[in-house]
């Protein structure tokens, strides 16, 4: 019996459907009301999903930003690993509401969840 699930997202937005799928899965689990906690941790290139100035309409893709907003509206935590983002693209503006954390805190976040699934 699981009380919490963590959606670990390593994949960047748009080239693959993985990141979008990950966020929809997290949302669906929350909406179902069957699992109290469903949070998202963005690591590596997955951190790029939280960039504020994405324009998915340029390639006719659904918005990963909206998917994150939907999650946060339902009180999911969305964590972004600072070091990973910094190393990839330096300083960029992120979506309002995401929690920027360091690797040490990311380790704790993973440990706090009963189940972890990776995208």
């Amino acid at each position: 019996m699981a009380e919490s699930v963590l959606i670990l997202v390593k994949k960047p937005p748009y080239g693959l459907e993985d990141a979008f799928s990950a966020l929809r899965a997290g949302l669906a689990v929350l909406v179902s009301g069957r699992v109290p906690v469903s949070n998202v941790l963005l690591i590596g290139e997955g951190t790029l999903n939280a960039v504020a100035s994405q324009r998915p309409e340029a390639i006719g893709m659904p918005s990963n930003m909206e998917a994150l907003h939907d999650l946060m509206d339902l009180e999911a935590d969305v964590y972004v690993v600072r070091e990973d983002l910094q190393e990839l693209v330096g300083d960029v503006q992120l979506l309002e509401g995401v929690k920027v954390i360091d690797r040490e805190r990311a380790r704790q976040v993973i440990d706090e969840h009963d189940l972890v699934t990776t995208f």
Binding site: K10, G44, A106, R107, V116, T117
Partner: protein, 99 residues
């Protein structure tokens, strides 16, 4: 800290999460379980030792290894079958994380 079993499916060449494994595994009992192309870690000393240096134990699926017909370099990797893999997942480790 919950004990952690890392599931690997990608070849050493494609595997990009060694750093992540280190930081996630810190302070917890850890192991890696190799499926599919990840068994290639057992054929390469450099990659194999790298992996072994970040987890307490490495297991790999015998069938996947044998299919590739390579000389075994990492003799300390434990060759297991699917029922043993189930025991690792269900009994021996508390969290299963695919990387």
């Amino acid at each position: 800290m919950r004990s952690k079993l890392f599931i690997l499916l990608k070849s050493p060449h494609d595997f990009d999460s060694l750093d992540l494994m280190v930081s996630i595994g810190e302070g917890a009992p850890t192991a890696a379980l190799l499926f599919e192309d990840a068994v290639l870690f057992a054929a390469n000393e450099k990659k194999g030792l790298e992996l072994l240096s970040v987890v307490n134990q490495v297991y790999m699926i015998k069938d996947d290894w044998e299919a590739r017909g390579l000389p075994l370099v990492m003799t300390s990797f434990k060759m297991i079958d699917y029922p043993e893999a189930v025991d690792l997942i269900m009994e021996k480790y508390e969290q299963t994380i695919t990387l």
